[in-house]
């Protein structure tokens, strides 16, 4: 992939990007209280006296939140700090009842790690390593609504105190595509690990995008930080727009001010949040309510042992052990849910067909990636449709694998199964393709006899007619002739 450059009036510019990703930790209860974290509850229904910062309340960390952050750190090969500590980040805002956020500045739970991102969609082997500086654990703030009342803002503290992981990258990305790929990879990994649901539209993952520009090879320029960007596409747009803006400012003789900005998707531009300027004076200090967090080896061992197979390892295994193409291995491992479905169906088919996983993997992969989605899409059916069951999928794929029905019949039968009330097993049975060579020969003879003129043409060199004979024979046999045998018999008889 060629390097990404911005063409300015005075020459080429390189963009430098770092991302701070806030990922909501998957847990039942909040980081420091027993209130629930579920999305979409009535306002302030999931707020404890701790979250509302009532006097005398003391925070007690939720073990699961710590565990999930540690597992995430392990998944990016990061150093896990057995001794970490919580600090107070002080600022005054209506969505922060404590007047400070409990975070980890000086001694984060997770230290340095890295991610491999795929920089060329078509080539899974083209990777770049993006450094990750740290992951720390902190509290989320509440939510403000400004448009519900003429003079007041409404505050909902349901989100206040929910655990976040802040995942801070190194300034290692150099293009919108790399920034997008990094965020997508991070999302893929936390979803595999189960430490965050990755629902960006619900705010479960959001990124602060740090962008600066420089002449290629020169030291870093001054950066700006665009806050709370909530999709991969928007992250890429922010990088592109903000880099262009900075180049424009510098080339017009101006200077980039280190500042916080907001992205406006409707106008596709970033704009300054000047009011936040002196809010950067956070006066951090160790939280006196919390002792240092000390983790023992047993805790870390459990975290490591409970990690699932991660996407890169899975993709590699699908290629080497199952013999799938790089493209299919990539597509099946892109999302943890797709991989889960594949492995479930693979195990079910292999066991029902009495074959090894590797012997049926290609057929299962093709069924899941191209054949079944075609049918579901044609009828606008959701993948979780009740009739799209493991049993039905297994029955169809096993019947195809065993040569009982042809691939095209399989699709037809599955389609009628989804859209009407048929008895799947009976339908498969009545559509059995025949391997009875006598029946096939009889059908072929009839077809050749009825098309004597075309047989002459074929023998005269018009070989493209072979397909016509196959089609006629299959038609005569109502689609039940075994395609390989039909081909064989035709070849023999046509000479």
């Amino acid at each position: 992939m060629s390097e990404y450059r911005i063409q300015g009036a005075t020459g080429e510019w390189e963009v430098v990007i770092g991302l701070e990703v806030h990922a909501q930790v998957t847990s039942n209860a909040k980081l420091f209280s027993g209130a629930a974290t579920a999305f979409g509850a009535e306002p302030n229904a999931q707020v404890s006296l701790v979250d509302a910062a009532m006097p005398g309340m003391l925070p007690v960390p939720n073990r699961e939140c710590i565990r999930q952050a540690v597992r995430t750190g392990m998944a990016i090969n990061a150093q896990i700090n057995k001794w970490s500590r919580f600090d107070r980040k002080n600022y005054f805002y209506a969505d922060l009842p404590q007047g400070y956020q409990i975070s980890q500045l000086y001694h984060p739970l997770v230290g340095e790690g890295s991610l491999e991102v795929q920089v060329d969609e078509k080539n899974p082997e083209s990777t770049k390593t993006i450094g990750i500086e740290r992951i720390h654990v902190e509290q989320d703030a509440g939510k403000l609504m400004h448009d519900q009342h003429p003079t007041m803002s409404y505050v909902d503290l349901n989100r206040s105190g929910v655990a976040l992981m802040e995942i801070v990258s190194r300034p290692d990305m150099r293009s919108p595509a790399e920034a997008g790929a990094y965020l997508a990879k991070l999302r893929q990994i936390v979803r595999y690990v189960g430490s965050c649901d990755g629902n960006m539209d619900q705010g479960s993952m959001r990124a602060d995008v740090n962008v600066s520009v420089r002449r290629p090879g020169e030291p870093f320029g001054t950066r700006t930080e665009t806050k709370n960007v909530n999709s991969v596409r928007f992250v890429m747009a922010v990088v592109e727009q903000e880099a262009k803006r900075q180049v424009g400012v510098i080339e017009d003789g101006g200077k980039i001010v280190q500042e916080t900005r907001l992205y406006d998707p409707d106008r596709n531009e970033t704009r300054s949040m000047r009011s936040k300027e002196d809010a950067h004076d956070y006066r951090y200090f160790p939280d006196p309510d919390l002792l240092p967090l000390v983790l023992d080896d047993a805790f870390l061992d459990e975290c490591r042992a409970s990690l699932p197979e991660l996407p890169d390892a899975k993709r590699h295994r699908y290629e080497t052990a199952l013999g799938l193409s790089a493209y299919n291995a990539n597509a099946l491992t892109a999302d943890v849910e797709t991989a889960r479905q594949f492995e479930e169906l693979l195990a079910s088919v292999a066991s029902a067909a009495g074959k090894a996983d590797a012997d049926v993997a290609k057929r299962v992969a093709n069924w899941l990636l191209s054949e079944r989605p075609g049918i579901l899409n044609a009828h606008a059916l959701p993948a979780d449709h009740a009739k799209n069951s493991l049993e039905a999928n297994t029955a169809i794929v096993v019947a195809t694998e065993a040569g009982v029905i042809s691939g095209s019949k399989a699709k037809e039968i599955f389609e009628s199964h989804l859209t009407s009330d048929i008895d799947l097993a009976a339908e498969i049975d009545s559509n059995k393709q025949t391997t009875d060579t006598g029946a096939i020969e009889a059908a072929v003879d009839a077809v050749l006899a009825a098309n004597a003129d075309k047989v002459e043409q074929y023998r005269g060199g018009k070989e493209a007619l072979f397909g016509f004979f196959v089609g006629q024979t299959m038609k005569a046999m109502a689609g039940k002739g075994n395609p390989q045998l039909v081909n064989q018999v035709l070849k023999a008889k046509l000479g």
Partner: protein, 100 residues
């Protein structure tokens, strides 16, 4: 370490505490007195001594991930949470409009 009037005014403003100029004048020497008193600790040589986090050896206790296990630190108590709010409507806290 010491603070001047401008620093105290800035800290007050960051914490959104309104302090009159005359209070500010009185506060500067008071705060400097406190800082000087605490600074005496700097006279102790603590080379090679681990910072102490508690007077008895103790580590941070962790809770299980169970919702509302203890009613004192659980949710579902909206009326109590909103009880002291100067303004509360439709289940929300109401605050003077703050808009970016």
């Amino acid at each position: 370490m010491s603070v001047d009037t401008a620093t105290v005014a800035k800290i007050a403003s960051l914490a959104r505490i309104k302090v009159t100029d005359s209070d500010l004048e009185a506060m500067v020497p008071e705060l400097n007195g406190i800082l000087a008193w605490v600074e005496q600790l700097g006279e102790v040589d603590v080379t090679g001594i681990e910072p102490m986090t508690a007077v008895i050896p103790n580590t941070l206790r962790l809770r299980d991930d169970v919702v509302n296990a203890d009613p004192l630190t659980g949710g579902g108590i909206r009326d109590q949470v909103l009880a002291n709010a100067p303004a509360a409507e439709h289940g929300f806290f109401g605050v003077p409009k703050v808009i970016e």
